[in-house]
Amino acid sequence: MSLDAPRSADLDARSFATVAEELLDDVYGYLLYMTKNWALAEDLTSETFETALRRWKRFDPRRGTHRAWLLAIARSTALDWFRADSRRRKREERADAEDPRHDREPAFGEGFSAELEEALRALTAGEREVVALRVVLELDGDETAALLGISPTAVSTRLHRALAKLEERMRHHDAVA
């Protein structure tokens, strides 16, 4: 089976509202995979679209699709949040006590089976990110590589490693059950 999606030919001048409506699920899904926390994903999605609206005039369709552009902003927003959170936790020296990564609240929200959610939780953000981009959002290898700033080969490697880990976790969950 192919993981590549047809390249979006949105080299047009659609309005921000149209683009936001069309790509909201993609951005939210990507951020949810990145943060594994639906509340945080919602906040970061809002922040992403606010930033996108401020930069809307600077979008150049010759340099990529609206989706790639929005996902790049979403990634930068998420990394900024990770960075700030990491600093905050270091400053407060309460790493494990209030680490949102360790809360048991259903992080991915509705639509995920318990075993899939458990397996996704075991992945790192980098692994979940590549799964989200390549499998869920169906970006092609080059687009993903450009977004992550790594080579297409590295994307492929990272994806296969993540899927293998995911499968392994799922199998383990089934065996335990």
Partner: protein, 354 residues
């Protein structure tokens, strides 16, 4: 390892959808898009990617440099060539030098340029009845190095024949051959000397200068007569009159001073008369190579020369800027690369821990 189709299918089937309240928030945000946020002039801003900017900027800078060189070259080609300028400057310097000489007496000067006839020196004739300091500067051009040697030898022979002598002589043969000879000849023979020296080659320049010394000589002679008379009176008083010791001592001191002044006056008179007896001639013998004479360039050649000069200067300035800016650019590049590497590492770490 090929991923399980079931897993892929499940991942895609559970594709997250944005909750309704988030969708509503984003719609509200998008509704504010109608308000223009960009400045009116932002549409005029040229957006060029760095690579394209370099592709445009480099040829543009080259064209600008060449155009500047061409325009400046064309404008400067109207101006006289460097050699001519140097010649004019040299002449100006000489004029300045001459004007700086203290005017102890009126100086009569006559200058003749290339092509002057040997008889041109007759335009200023020495006055046999007055004491005059005569000096002449003469430049003649001969065809080659051998011509320089011949001319120098003939000049020395002529000087000897006219009863004069050589003050200094410098003869260079071979490449850039030239001779510089300073002669002293009796004033009565100066015209003959100039005519003879002018015949050694084609005259490049000739200058004769006459300074009247008669007034100085007359003044010195008057003073000498006066001093001698005073000395005679003092001697007579000292020999004939009964004088007290103090007066005698005072008169003797005065006599000594007058005798010392007389000695100085006599030396001055002798020197002035000697100046008036002999004329000084500075002869320079040159070849076309030693003068650096070149055929006048065409307008196109001058334009090209000037354009190349401007280009060389542009290159020098560009190189200087490059040399000055290069260390800063390297530091900036290293900083940028380091920061990028650090951020990449940090991102990897964050993505691995979350």
């Amino acid at each position: 390892m090929t991923p399980s189709p079931d897993l892929i299918q499940e991942l895609r089937a559970s594709r997250p959808a944005a909750p309704a309240d988030l969708r509503w928030r984003v719609r509200e945000l998008a509704a504010s898009e109608a308000t223009p946020t960009a400045a009116p002039w932002s549409k005029l801003r040229l957006r060029l990617p760095a690579r394209r900017f370099v592709l445009v900027a480099l040829p543009a800078a080259t064209v600008l440099a060449l155009t500047t060189a061409g325009v400046l070259g064309l404008a400067r080609s109207d101006a006289p060539s460097a050699e001519v300028l140097r010649g004019e400057l040299a002449q100006t310097d000489k004029d300045s030098l001459e004007s700086a000489v203290p005017e102890t007496a009126p100086v009569q000067t006559e200058t003749f340029g290339a092509g002057a006839t040997p008889g041109a020196a007759d335009a200023i004739a020495p006055d046999a009845n007055r004491a005059q300091q005569i000096s002449a500067t003469l430049t003649v051009e001969v065809s080659d190095s051998d011509g320089v040697s011949d001319a120098a030898q003939k000049a020395l022979d002529l000087t000897e024949r006219l009863g004069g002598h050589v003050v200094s002589a410098s003869v260079v043969t071979g490449e850039g051959a030239n001779a510089a000879i300073t002669l002293r000849v009796p004033v009565a023979k100066v015209q003959e000397a100039i005519v003879g020296l002018s015949a050694l080659g084609s005259i490049v320049s000739q200058q004769v200068s006459i300074q009247d010394l008669q007034a100085t000589l007359d003044q010195l002679e008057r003073r000498e007569r006066s001093v001698r008379a005073q000395i005679a009176v003092l001697v007579a008083r000292l020999e004939s009159e009964p004088l007290d010791a103090e007066t005698r001592a005072r008169l003797q001191a005065r006599l000594q001073n007058l005798r010392a002044e007389l000695r100085v006056l006599r030396r001055g008179l002798a020197g002035t008369r000697a100046e008036a007896r002999m004329a000084t001639i500075q002869l320079t013998v040159v070849t076309p190579e030693s003068t650096g004479a070149v055929a006048p360039q065409s307008r196109l050649d001058r334009t090209l020369d000037e354009a190349v000069n401007v280009l060389v200067w542009e290159a020098v300035i560009a190189l200087a800027i490059l040399i000055i800016a290069a260390p800063f650019a390297l530091v900036l590049l290293a900083t940028w690369l380091g920061r990028r590497f650090y951020r990449r590492r940090e991102e990897e770490r964050l993505l691995a821990t979350w």
